[in-house]
Amino acid sequence: MTSIVPFQATDLFDLNPINLDPLTENFYIYFYLQYLSDWPTLFYKSTSALDEPTGYILAKTEGQVLKKEWHAHISAVTIDPNYRRIGLGSYLCQMLETYTQDEKPYYAFFIDLFVKCNNTLAINFYEKLGYSVFRRVVGYYGPPGRIPSKSRLNDEIDAFDMRKSLKRDKAHECVRKTGRRYHVLPQDVVF
């Protein structure tokens, strides 16, 4: 059984079953609290019948409306290992579409996220949800100080910027079919 409930700061005390998973990042307190204060409706959790968190998603909005870049960005989505393979991750992502596509309060053109180019599992997962690669950000996950070059591709440190159009992007102008071949550098990804 799954309920979707707004995330509160005190939920941070109950995340161990989710965050002890080695693939889930544990962020600084300020990261979670900033998302809560700046995008209060885009940070929510799934809960079990016992009201325990079983997963959560945190997202933000950014970009300019005029450039048709106003969008929601998924910063993190993660599920308790005991609640995987039941469509919970998809459900959290779908709920984000529900909350961001309507005229009020967000009316975003699209949702995007970044994923490592070698993370085939995640890429397949998002493709099933209707996301497609918009561009490859070369060296996005590279070590600080290293200057990336478009000619040096590396699946370990490059990211796919994946997007899904929402209702507002009627003509699907915010996505592209040949995104895997479109390479940019991290500094080009500015909204």
């Binding site: 309920s3 544990n26 300020y30 909350y99 009020k104």
Partner: protein
């Protein structure tokens, strides 16, 4: 605190208060109009001890009467009152803020209240802010948010906070008045978005205007699908008994908006029951797309519609989701609440015959789905009858399933983990549950369990429940070095330090391996987290929450702030650091920082309040450890685990805190209170989870303050080095001698000659005990390798020859490898004894 003058700061940090006072007086002559130096003067007096306390309070009060508007001065005055344990009639910021209501000062008052997590002051300051910004138009642009409107909303949420979080501290009249005042403010501000409507509706609820609240929610929800407001709306409909409307609204969300949400389903079914529409409800469930919520909705409906057979739906759910890890947790709450499901033996038997027997007997090769079904089957079986843990057949069954599915472990992908570890953990719980021996023999069983869990971890290296168990076991076995490695592999950080670090850092023995490197040990990391991350980040982000108008999150922010600032782990960590520093003779750190931290936390503890900012909040995660197997703390198992290094509780923490305050805070005006509370707690020491050595240590201190309290028999050092009590007892004896030594030198003024004589005599007596211990340690160290080899042989024999041991199929090579690690960790533990 950062001081304006480095010389004064140096003098204060060295404890040279006379010099500090001279320097401050000189500054006062130079700057006779500076309130700051007058404030500093009262602070130096407060530091100088009990003789100067009254003067410090008087000078601070006189200064406050002059209404200084300098923020630093007001902060100092607050600190002076705090140092002197003096509670003024009015908070210094409030006193000045009310007399000089200018926006900067009132905003500082508000910020200060946010930083302190003081909700009553947050409410008062935000209310004052609305007045200031209405009257003092020139000041509106001084800070963001710049409008009087936002200040009105700040004040409105301030009323919500006080009513929700401090209701026992406000009068009944205020409880009625505050929501009405808040409503006036919100109505003036005219809410514009979901967050502002949230404040409005919270106040309407608090004012008992449920009907109006419902109407407002309907209005905003027709324009915006906001999750928080939707939940509030469903709740209002439920509480006001508007079941027809609740039924239709839930149907709208479930059916029209396709929001497949269990909270909505539950209310939908409840409403259906109330208005006798269970037939319609059943139809909607039937037509709904397949999913876990649908399966469980049938079961929920069968609670009120007795024409439906719960057992059929239960079995159908297992056949559909039995191969999902969450199946057991999904069903467990239904099992506990549904009378028709009190006995599911027949269902379990059918699952066994149909799905499990062929796999467990190896007639068919197990798949991942089979494994998970077997795990769920075992969990459901044990949930029904926890007493099965006392049956050796349960261990055999777990081993059979583990072996039948073991080949799947070879196919695990990186970072993935297998459910098979559950069998290992259940088997170990059963071994513990069935243990009938004494504390002395327990380490041998714990070592067997370590072997079982370590070998499971070898094939399932990312399974964190196994790691948590192993950390706890290694700490009990005096093998902290290995526990530390596993803890590091969990990459515990930030909030997790508050919830998880106590598993490693409880009691002196746990610190042994890094006793001499205070900067890298876990205690230091935890302390740094509170001072750096919590102290610096949280108040700023709460202010940001106000600025962004994220009103639905503000209460959670304050609850988080107070829970983490006044947390059990923080207090325990401070006590452990004090013990650590005392053992290393680092008294300066205790005097300068740790003592003050302890005093502040003790003040919160002593309030014994019901509310978050008036009590020590226990955020320790003791759930994840038990969140495997039957997903509950099993009494028979935890009792066995607590035979060595028992889990500590609030009373343990209180008596330890008071012991340290009695040693270091001898100038406090609360000293008599410390003694009384310490002796009261000591009176029930038998019920506090202390070790034998700790009880003895507490008795020594109790005897000093109340000679009629007899000192317990000297603690005995166990012969077995593979038990927590070995290093622990030695450290406690050492620590006790150091406590007495400190008291002889520093308590000469506040104790009677007789007391000092008693302390001297005790110190002499225990120094002799310690000398003997030190002599014995060398022989123990020499013996250590032999002892470990002997235990290794015993463990190998058990796994090879014992009927139960053989079930685990752990080969001798694996045991040898595990014992190599144990040997290394054991050596590290022995090395730590050099520090005493």
């Amino acid at each position: 605190m950062v001081y304006a003058d480095p010389f004064i700061e140096n003098a204060l940090s060295c404890g040279n208060y006379k010099l500090a006072l001279q320097l401050v007086d000189r500054k006062i002559k130079e700057h006779p109009n500076s309130s700051y130096y007058f404030g500093l003067r009262s602070q130096v007096l407060a530091y100088q001890g009990p003789k100067f306390r009254q003067r410090a309070i008087k000078e601070a009060e006189d200064l406050l009467a002059r209404c200084p508007t300098d923020i630093q001065t007001l902060t100092i005055i607050s600190e002076v009152f705090d140092l002197c344990n003096y509670v003024p009639l009015v908070d210094p910021f409030e006193a000045v803020g009310k007399k000089h209501p200018n926006s900067s000062l009132v905003y500082e008052w508000f910020s200060h209240s946010v930083e302190a997590g003081n909700l009553i002051q947050v409410q008062k300051s935000t209310m004052m802010l609305t007045k200031v910004l209405t009257t003092d138009k020139s000041s509106r642009d001084q800070f963001s948010p710049s409008s009087a409107r936002m200040a009105q909303l700040y004040a409105a949420i301030g009323f919500v906070l006080v009513c929700n979080c401090c209701s026992s501290r406000i009068t009944a009249a205020s409880r009625k008045l505050f929501p009405l005042l808040g409503l006036k403010l919100v109505e003036k501000a005219k809410p514009q978005n979901a967050q502002e409507y949230f404040v409005y509706c919270e106040l309407l609820k608090l004012a008992g205007k449920e009907e109006q609240c419902k109407n407002v929610l309907e209005e905003i929800l027709s324009k915006e699908n906001d999750l928080q407001l939707k939940l509030m709306y469903l709740d209002v409909l439920d509480r006001t008994g508007k079941y027809e409307q609740l039924f239709e609204t839930c149907r709208h969300y479930l059916d029209n908006l396709k929001e497949d949400d269990w909270n909505t389903w539950k209310l939908f079914i409840k409403a259906a029951g109330e208005i006798r529409k269970t037939g319609d409800c059943f139809k909607i469930i039937n037509e709904y797309p397949d999913g876990r919520n649908k399966g469980l909705a049938y079961l929920e409906l069968s609670k009120i519609d007795h024409t439906l057979r719960a057992t059929d739906f239960f079995e159908a759910y297992i056949s559909k989701y039995g191969s999902k890890k969450c199946c057991f947790q999904d069903l467990v709450s239904v099992l506990d609440e549904h009378p028709e499901l009190s006995n599911i033996d027949d269902i379990l038997d059918r699952i066994y015959e149909k799905e499990i027997v062929s796999v467990s007997s190896r007639k068919s090769k197990a798949t991942e789905k089979d494994l998970i079904l077997m795990v769920n089957y075992m969990k459901l079986k044990l949930h029904q009858k926890t007493e099965l843990l006392n049956d050796t057949d349960t261990i055999k069954e777990c081993c059979t399933y583990y072996k039948a599915t073991e080949q799947l472990l070879d196919k695990l992908q990186q970072f993935d983990f297998s459910a098979s570890s559950e069998f290992a953990i259940i088997a170990c719980e059963a071994l513990l549950s069935q243990y009938k021996g004494t504390q002395n023999d327990l380490p041998t069983l714990l070592l067997r369990i370590v072997v079982i869990m370590e070998s499971a971890l070898l094939k399932n290296p990312y399974e964190f429940h196994l790691k948590l168990w192993l950390i706890a076991l290694y700490c009990k076995l005096n093998l902290v070095n290995r526990a530390e490695s596993l803890f590091e592999s969990l990459k515990v950080k930030f909030v997790q330090l508050d919830t998880l670090s106590t598993i490693l850092s409880t009691r002196i023995s746990s610190l042994e391996t890094k006793l001499n490197s205070s900067k890298s040990n876990i205690l230091f990391q935890v302390a740094k987290f509170y001072s750096n991350n919590v102290g610096r980040e949280v108040p700023q982000l709460i202010l940001n929450g106000f600025k962004q108008g994220s009103f639905s999150k503000i209460q959670g922010f304050f609850e988080f702030e107070n829970r983490i600032n006044f947390s059990f782990t923080r207090l325990q960590n401070t006590n452990e650091q004090i013990r650590n520093c005392r053992l290393q003779d680092d008294i300066r750190r205790i005097e300068i920082t740790l003592k003050n931290d302890l005093k502040s936390l003790y003040k919160v503890y002593a309030m014994e309040g019901k509310e978050l900012d008036q009590k020590i909040n226990d955020n320790r995660d003791r759930k994840t450890f038990w969140d495997c197997g039957v997903h509950q703390r099993i009494k028979t198992v935890s009792q066995k685990l607590d035979m060595i290094n028992p889990e500590v509780n609030m009373d343990y923490l209180a008596i330890t805190t008071l012991m340290n305050l009695l040693i270091y805070d001898y100038n406090s005006s609360l000293y008599e209170d410390y003694i009384k509370r310490y002796l009261d707690l000591y009176g029930k020491v038998g019920d506090i989870p202390c070790t034998e050595a700790e009880t003895w240590n507490f008795s020594v201190l109790a005897h000093i303050f109340e000679p009629s309290e007899e000192i317990k028999t000297d603690p005995k050092i166990p012969k077995n080095q593979l038990t927590f009590n070995f290093n622990h007892t030695i450290f406690v004896i050492t620590d006790c001698v150091k406590q007495l030594k400190y008291m002889i030198y520093d308590h000469s003024e506040n104790m009677t000659t007789k007391q000092i004589a008693t302390i001297r005599s005790l110190k002499k007596q225990y120094s002799e005990v310690l000398k003997k211990v030190k002599k014995d340690i060398n022989s123990y160290k020499k013996n250590e390798k032999k002892q470990i080899s002997k235990v290794e042989a015993e463990v190998k024999h058990w796994f090879a020859k014992n009927e139960i041991g053989r079930q685990f199929s752990v080969d001798a090579n694996t045991i040898t490898n595990i014992f190599e690690e144990i040997g290394r960790a054991g050596q590290q533990s022995m090395k730590q004894l050099n520090a005493i």
